[in-house]
């Protein structure tokens, strides 16, 4: 009995930040639930955590949530995959061939800085509201972080390594495969962290615009019929997915390339 508090306080001391954060989140949801004892509750515009949880269970049991997520996941991953496959080699060539870098850098910067989402209505008209349109929106948003990061990764490579491969009779192919590709990897993963966020934007924009299924469409559909509890359930699901993806990539970065976090 006497050791109980000290163990507990030891645990709190060690995981102070996690405990405080968890407590704040719990407090937030409790306050949200409790506030409707004081304030009148209008189910058309606001909902409470208990109703959101019920809505979430409802969506899971009916299978709607997983269906919408699966529909959204396809263009998301296809677009990201295409962005890696095209973006990384382009960025590597831009970093390796100085003149190509000079030529393409301003162009890419303009594309990266411009809100390409603005082309979404056009892409939807071109390619339709289905998979191709969404995939292309995702790709066009997600490709630039890969290009720029791969380019920066190649430029950061120690020239000595390249010279060694050259002296030992390696060709340009060996330079790319044996030196540049491995050195670009951490940069690519850092780029992926940024690209994932942009890809999510792409999926949502595509689905808000014109779609008949998908998680983005589910959110607008529930907003249209004032089903606020189910809309919140979908929004929270998207938040959880976004956090899992970005924090997952961050974790992968830390575990695979700890030296990049040494400073």
């Amino acid at each position: 009995m006497a050791t109980q508090p000290s163990v507990l306080s030891g645990f709190i001391g060690r995981h102070r930040n996690a405990v405080l954060g968890g407590a704040a989140v719990a407090l937030f949801f409790a306050a949200w639930q409790a506030i409707f004892f004081v304030v009148p509750f209008n189910p058309l515009f606001i909902t409470k955590p208990s109703l959101i949880a019920a809505g979430l269970v409802d969506l899971i049991e009916s299978g709607d949530l997983f269906h919408d997520l699966a529909v959204s996941a396809v263009p998301f991953f296809l677009g990201l995959f295409a962005a890696v496959v095209i973006g990384v080699p382009v960025g590597m060539v831009m970093g390796r061939r100085v003149r190509i870098g000079y030529a393409l850098d301003p162009l890419m910067t303009v594309f990266y800085a411009s809100p390409l989402v603005a082309l979404a209505p056009l892409l939807v008209i071109f390619f339709g509201v289905g998979l191709p349109g969404k995939t292309i929106i995702v790709f066009s948003l997600a490709v630039f972080p890969f290009v720029f990061n791969a380019c920066a990764g190649v430029r950061a490579v120690d020239h000595l390594l390249v010279n060694v491969v050259r002296s030992l009779g390696g060709g340009e192919r060996d330079v790319y495969l044996k030196i540049l590709l491995p050195s670009v990897l951490p940069y690519t993963i850092a780029g992926a962290r940024i690209a994932v966020g942009r890809a999510l934007i792409g999926v949502l924009v595509g689905e808000f615009f014109a779609a008949s299924e998908g998680i983005g469409h589910a959110i607008t559909r529930f907003a249209d019929i004032f089903a606020v509890d189910r809309m919140f359930a979908c929004i929270l699901t998207v938040m959880v997915i976004a956090i899992t993806l970005t924090e997952g990539i961050r974790w992968a970065e830390r575990t695979a390339f700890p030296w990049r976090f040494g400073q």
């Binding site: 704040a24 162009l107 411009s114 603005a118 920066a152 976004a242 970005t246």
Partner: protein, 282 residues
Amino acid sequence: MAEMQTLDLELSATSGTLPATASRQRIESIALGTAAIVLLLLIWELVPHFLPIKQGTRLFFTVPSRIFETLWEMFATGSIWAPLGVSAAAFAIGLALAIAAGLPLGILLGRSKTLNAMLDPFVTAFNATPRLVFLPLLMLWLGIGMWSKIAIVFLGAVFPLLINTHEGVRNADKVLINVVRSFGASEWDVARLVVLPNSLPFIVVGLRLAIGRAILGVVVAEFFGAQDGLGVVMVRAASSFNVDIVFAGLIIFAGLSLIMTGLVRLFEERTSRWRPQRAANE
């Protein structure tokens, strides 16, 4: 943090070059960069002359000369100013609110470990989530129009500012803080004299990112829930196959984004010129 990534990359991208060849390289880079853009526009312009374009595709097809003509017309007749003004107002108000909220909150979180630990889950969650997901909700709450636009701009811009301010405050020199404290400074004095000047470069980077996010917010909000603004003009044009206007709008948004981030970058270089650690990097 995602925001700091760009800072690293820019620093690592500046490779060491000898001063003698530096100016020649600069000229070469500008010439090649311009040439690539001109070449792309030229090819695009010439495509319809070489490739037969089907009647159906022609509806959606345009060439740069027509886009620039449309752009010129929009400015010449002045039809652009009203929607652009609406968009600019939403952008400016949203960004101003984001600065007003993000800076103090960032300083507060940087100074208080407890508060930071408590709010960190929320900041991480909102920063990882595309703010776009809240748009239907904001439209439900605030209605279609100015306020939902301002809200989405605010949500987009506030987190880069908050996170970068927080990072800057945390990097403030502890010795300086202790010195100022020893001379009897209050928490407010510490913030004003040491913390704020020290975190300025971080804040400016945050501002640059916030501008990009804010423009994205304006565009997206106007696409889905607004009655006027440049984005609305673009969506209407797209649905009536007026492709020129869509591209003209994109050029205006992109131009504004490049000009504003360029100005911030200039300010960044101006204000951080005296910093020894900055000089060491260059």
